[in-house]
């Protein structure tokens, strides 16, 4: 059995998960009342930055259906969805 190698896609997927977790962590910290206004503003900025990255990652791909050819290229594929 051959050893599996990590595809590039796995790395970027981890990055998204990581960013999402950090974002959720920041929200958690903001929920604390004792956080001062200065710090709250700082956290907010950081959080918005991460949220922006997550959003653009999710919108990176557009809907498309294609067929993989023998030479490794793809061509648009028509399939009835009756």
């Amino acid at each position: 059995m051959t050893k599996k190698t990590k595809a590039e896609t796995v790395d970027s997927d981890e990055r998204f998960e990581d960013q999402l977790e950090r974002l959720e962590d920041i929200v958690g910290r903001l929920e604390d009342d004792s956080v001062g206004l200065e710090q709250a503003l700082d956290l907010f900025e950081q959080g918005m930055g991460l949220a922006g990255k997550c959003r653009s990652r999710l919108e990176r791909v557009e809907q498309r259906v294609s067929r993989l050819l023998e030479d490794g290229t793809t061509e648009e594929m028509e399939v009835e969805t009756s």
């Binding site: 059995m1 051959t2 599996k4 190698t5 990590k6 595809a7 590039e8 896609t9 796995v10 997927d13 998204f16 998960e17 999402l20 974002l23 959720e24 920041i26 929200v27 903001l30 929920e31 009342d33 956080v35 206004l37 709250a40 503003l41 907010f44 959080g47 918005m48 949220a51 997550c54 959003r55 990652r57 999710l58 919108e59 990176r60 791909v61 557009e62 809907q63 498309r64 259906v65 294609s66 067929r67 993989l68 490794g72 793809t74 594929m77 399939v79 009835e80 969805t81 009756s82």
Partner: protein
Amino acid sequence: MRDHVWTVGAVIDQVNALLESGFSGISVEGEITSVTRSARGHLYFSLKDGEAQLDCVAWASAARRLRFDLEDGLAVEATGSLTVYRARGRFQLVVTRIEPQGLGALQLAFEQMKRRLEVEGLFSAERKRQLPAVPQRIGIVTSGEGAALRDMLKVLRRHANIEVVVVPVTVQGKVAASEIAIALAQLCASNLVDVVILGRGGGSLEDLWAFNEEKVARAVADCAIPVITGVGHEVDFTIADFVADVRAATPTQAAEILVTRLEESQGRAEDARARLGWELRRHLQAARARMVAVEGSAGLARVPHRVEVARLRLAVADRLPLLLEELARSARHRLLSAASVLRRFPGLVAAGGHRPLVDSRAEQLATLIRGHVDHARTAVASRERALQHLSPRRVLDRGYSITTLEGRTLPLRDAAGLRAGQALVTTLSEGTVRSLVVKCPGGGVSTRSSLPGPSKQGTLFDDGGSNDEENESGDGGL
């Protein structure tokens, strides 16, 4: 008597001829034992029941067609012809077909394959990978014509941000396993997708057989990208399902699982984003509320005065304890000296009759102390007044100045009553300034040539000050 004498070859041939007529294409049931395989692929084994044993051989061509492995102890039904193998004189059954007893051949093969790969560890939970959190690029290996592909695409198209790469394959028959294995390898190597669906619509065990073949199982195992299988119906479990990272009941469900996962990730991100906004707004509101509480609205303007009053009160309050302590100390001192005096005249105390003396002494002391306290209180009160009187002085020290009309003592507050040419005296923290009014809101030029005298009102400082010279100007004083 001498009968016909056979040669070895001839007698064997004769027996074979007899066997051929009566024992061709017979079926024998028994238990398999002693299985060996020659280099050329011929299978040798024995069939036995309780008491008897029969040697068997399946030539390579027949052995290849076997769908399952021959195992010791397996109960089978073998079909073939009895012959005597000339070169060895061995009596054997030349087998053309074997069927397992009890289980169907396919089912047995399935069980055997499953067992073998499981022992190898291909099904173990540790090997299975998580589906990607953001499965946006999805590969599908399935038939190009079947309903499975249509159904999967219908589900996937519900989501705007999903890209699909399809590799159409044959999904049953001799070539299916190879095509599927190649397709999986291609997709994995292409780097075009984050996850692969291996799918096929429903069918019989025979129809789905390709997904039980070793080739496909190993292709799924070797795939670097997570594979989710959706083969047949809910109840169908294939070897590929066991090896896959995730098994879905049907192809449609495989697609659903991925869409749900993508939507979950999106939901989490959007939710967190919204909560960021709410939390910040909450902090801002709290901060604003705190500021309003401290400032008030009119309160803001009066702060300096209030601070001043507070400061005065504090100054007085500071002095009082000191005064009282002084007082207590002196009282204590007097008591002690009184006590030492009394000690010098022990007779006085012992006599008892001199109690009144002591009492009256104590009485005097008490009065003394009371007197001191009263004095201290008065002193504090007068100092308080003085401090208050002094406060304008503190105002001057801060850089403000007090302006009066020359000769008057009341500080000017309203510029409206002034006329050009009037003389003003401005008292600074250090020194005074005499000046003339150049221009004022009233406009007008003064016609007066003499200056008005001091006003009737009391002076700023209680120095017995100047008083009542008549006010010439008749403008009602200031």
